[in-house]
């Protein structure tokens, strides 16, 4: 993904498309880890992962709302929308790749990188700009698949150290364009917004985006739920950021209010790293023998996953009521995850979804 500083609406659209892609790109790794936990075991870890995955769906939807608000067209069915794992995140974080793997310390360590706070975050200091100034213009070699780029030649590529900084760039772009264009920036059809009535968690949080204030509120929510823009473990609503939720699993203890980073003092979190289906990391269809029932199962999964993305796309392209069915699709997928992950491949690992999605 090549992104350059937002100077026009097209650039803003590109960033928001990348944001949707980014939010989505975290979901397969989170769900693979989540559903690799043996049902009934590790309930606390399960709930922590699940809460994060559900909020990534919220973030994805908020990003789609912003894109719709500024006249863009979210489309989760474009070829290459789903990365092949291992993959770099689509915001140009190039120092690590994301694997689709079983629930493990390594997986959580990757998740911490995904949700990491802005670089050099220190208490009371706005670190965003500091982070961005030293954003990488790097020559890191890329492995695996890079997410499809919409390259605009002649501009310096942006790379962000954290998702928070990426959203900060979007927010600045929104402000800049709003200063130039005024409310004409928000030319999208409000009927395309997915409103609070559609979000699934009792925690609420989904909001329609119709102007600069609501766009900024949406970005703030994404950032604070994720890594926390500042060093705060708990956000202004008392909710614990994803980064620290995950850290609790590695540190084996819950955070409570008043705790310092890295030193939670709450109750113990019991984690059983072994109560896990040892699913194959970054599985491919080619890992399953052609013509086998399992191969068929994995293909069925990919079709169902593609259907899910197509339903979401319909919801984002003017049929918000389809969102209910799209979320229902996630519940159906859950069962397909289990049906695949329970099956040994004979080499000590278990099968796993491959996310090789083709839209016909």
């Amino acid at each position: 993904m090549s992104l350059t500083k937002i100077t026009d609406k097209a650039g803003l659209h590109r960033h928001l498309e990348a944001a949707i892609q980014l939010e989505h790109a975290t979901i397969p790794p989170y769900l693979n880890a989540l559903y690799s936990i043996r049902p009934g075991a590790n309930t606390e870890a399960f709930h922590i992962l699940r809460a994060v995955a559900v909020e990534e769906m919220l973030h994805l939807t908020l990003a789609a709302n912003i894109l719709n608000a500024v006249g863009g067209t979210p489309d989760l069915t474009v070829p290459g929308f789903v990365p092949l794992y291992p993959a770099y995140l689509p915001d140009g974080e190039t120092d690590f790749q994301v694997d689709c793997q079983a629930f493990s310390r390594a997986a959580i360590e990757t998740f911490l990188k995904i949700e990491r706070p802005a670089e050099g975050a220190t208490p009371g200091v706005d670190t965003i700009h500091k982070g961005r100034k030293r954003a990488h213009h790097n020559g890191h070699k890329r492995h695996g698949t890079a997410v499809r780029a919409r390259h605009v030649p002649g501009h310096e590529e942006e790379h962000f150290y954290s998702i928070g900084e990426f959203y900060q760039a979007i927010e600045e772009g929104l402000e800049r364009l709003h200063a130039e264009m005024g409310d004409a920036l928000f030319s999208g059809d409000p009927a395309r917004q997915i409103g609070p009535e559609y979000y699934y968690s009792a925690g609420g949080g989904l909001m329609a985006v119709t102007d600069l204030a609501s766009a900024k509120a949406a970005i703030r929510l994404i950032s604070e739920q994720g890594e926390g823009v500042t060093d705060n473990i708990f956000d202004y609503e008392g909710e614990i950021a994803h980064y620290y939720r995950f850290e609790q699993l590695l540190l084996g203890r819950y955070y409570q209010k008043g705790d310092a980073r890295g030193r939670p003092t709450g109750r113990e979190v019991a984690v059983d790293w072994d109560a896990v289906f040892p699913i194959k990391a970054n599985a491919r269809l080619s890992d399953f023998p052609e013509g086998s029932a399992l191969r068929q199962g994995a293909e069925d999964f990919n079709r169902a996953y593609g259907d899910f993305l197509a339903l979401l796309t319909r919801a984002f392209q003017g049929e918000p009521a389809m969102f209910v069915e799209a979320v229902g699709g996630m519940f159906q997928l859950k069962e397909l995850y289990y049906q695949i992950m329970r099956q040994p491949l004979g080499d000590g690992t278990h099968a796993a979804p491959t996310y090789e999605i083709s839209h016909g």
Binding site: P39, G40, Y200, A293, L294, Q296, G297, V324, E325, V327, G328, M330, F331, Q332, K334, E335, Y338, Q339, I340, R342, Q343
Partner: protein
Amino acid sequence: MADMLDGFLALSEALTGFTGQRLRGTGQAEAYLATATGIVGEGVMRDLLLAAAEARASSGGDTEKHEAELRRLVMSDDRLGPVARNIIRMWYVGSWYQLPKPWREAHGQSPRDHDHVVSPISYTEGLLWPAIGANPAGAKPAGYGMWAMPPRIAPG
């Protein structure tokens, strides 16, 4: 017992009407085989799987013939029929039910032969509910508001 698993799954496909992939996907095949074998004994289980294999072999892929052969060799057999019906029950609702009294008197008692849920998970993996596009009470929900739509009753 591992050598019996494939035979057990083949029999289970015929008994339940679900594919092997779907049955394996429940993760319960080993537990059901072990539960049944532990109660009726390996001898009965091997005979059951042999009879099922014979029914498969002699029907040459013809579904109707296969069903007829299963009725002849398994379902109407005093010794094998009740066990086959209990295997259906396990797959459908996750529970073992006590074998009929005549069976116990003729073929042996087992201290584990009483009504019980094989495991908490086995209940949630019951196939009765997916067979009608529903979910076992308390597990595998379809999501908010999905109950307003027609049931998705799918093959497989």
